[in-house]
Symmetry: C2
Subunit: 242 residues, 2 copies
Amino acid sequence: MPETCPHNSAISCGNCRLGSICLPLALETDDVVKLDEIVQRGRPLQKNEHLYREGDHFTSVYAVRSGAIKAYRLTGDGQEQVTGFYFPGEIIGMDGISKDQYACSAKALETSAVCEIPFNRLEELSTQVPSMQRHFFQLMSQEITSDQQLITLLSKNSAEERIASLLISISARNARRKLSRTHFRLPMSRTDIGNFLGLTVETVSRVISRFNKQGLIAVENKEVTLLDLEGLKAVANVASDS
Amino acid sequence: MPETCPHNSAISCGNCRLGSICLPLALETDDVVKLDEIVQRGRPLQKNEHLYREGDHFTSVYAVRSGAIKAYRLTGDGQEQVTGFYFPGEIIGMDGISKDQYACSAKALETSAVCEIPFNRLEELSTQVPSMQRHFFQLMSQEITSDQQLITLLSKNSAEERIASLLISISARNARRKLSRTHFRLPMSRTDIGNFLGLTVETVSRVISRFNKQGLIAVENKEVTLLDLEGLKAVANVASDS
DNA sequence: TAATACACTTGATGCAAGTCATGGTGTCTC
DNA sequence: GAGACACCATGACTTGCATCAAGTGTATTA
């Protein structure tokens, strides 16, 4: 049966529409087959369903195939801290490797499909296929640099800069997946955005309203259109090509 | 000539006093020899000397052998953002893997010695020695989780909590190296501390003075003694065993 | 030992974002 | 379609930390 629904599991790495933006970058056809053999595709996750929880025994990393996943950890006093949003083609769960248990929880923001990649199999494959090892090192390094960007954002930037940066980041990640750079649906709540960016819901709401009034964006609930991407980049204080 | 000075380069992974807290954890003796063959030990870095700069072509990761290194990146508008402090036994430079160029600059806070580990050699060794691959995956994952902890700190915690957490973190890393848990020298300036924690120098200074008055710590310039580690942990809002 | 620069401390004031409160709007359930 | 509930928007008030402005060490050099 050919693929019809985006959450369909009758799919292989070879024919996945996400193609090289996921793991199989730079792999030979033979190696893609090997990867395909270890990837497990279960039923889709429903909204609010957990992929794994903080403290669970670490077994696998996951590639998001459709939908969106939020990663978060609990602070000492039980508050939630959102550490990232993961879109199709992105890999989640690499924080679990160091202590053999997940350091974050991962929860679906909407109905989502993921590919499970058992880590011990991935390790084996990585020793056999150097380009696989390299690619995985790169993915982890990317996670480090994106966390460091967030650190900078949190300690140096204003509320407006933070929110503009998030919108630009989502836009760029959409473009990578050949989706619209200017029009998309925010899969997460305002609360999640605020939590991720170190702001309160009220501030997020106010800033989004302000951007709307200023004509930088057009918002209707979760639907966002970036009307002035350059203007938004100016607000975000980022170089124009990023 | 036997080792006399802590910055001495006449040393090998086999006899390094840092032992397993660095890379050679869980390696067989033969494998340590292999690692030793690829590790390069240059002259010590003087204070304020750069190990590498943001944007430099990525070639190697570095193990700190003595001294202390600070990692930082420049924001769009040229401000500095300190992303981490690295002490003996810790590995720096893993952020460079993803784009084949360093995402941070690394600068010595005091006279320091480092072991250079060329990354392509490390990759080769990793395909040959699975425990090496695993250890390096773990190190990178650890970097991810520590960045995520910092993200939480920056977006959820007060100035007092941030500074208490930093003191506790340095204390714990000292303990790992079999050094005093309660008495140490801060190798970085107050400005660097503030920059790292998302605070101004003034706030750092005030909080440290307050901790001093409250009898939690005793400070004299860069020399710090933690007088009440439990009290400090209470201020930091962390579980007592971390 | 004086001179200079730089790192740190301390106090006074202002502001960006948090908190609290209220009302609106969309969405799910029965 | 009524009720319940989560989510979102917006106004009034509060506050923690930044900013500004001196002043006080503490190294470094001549």
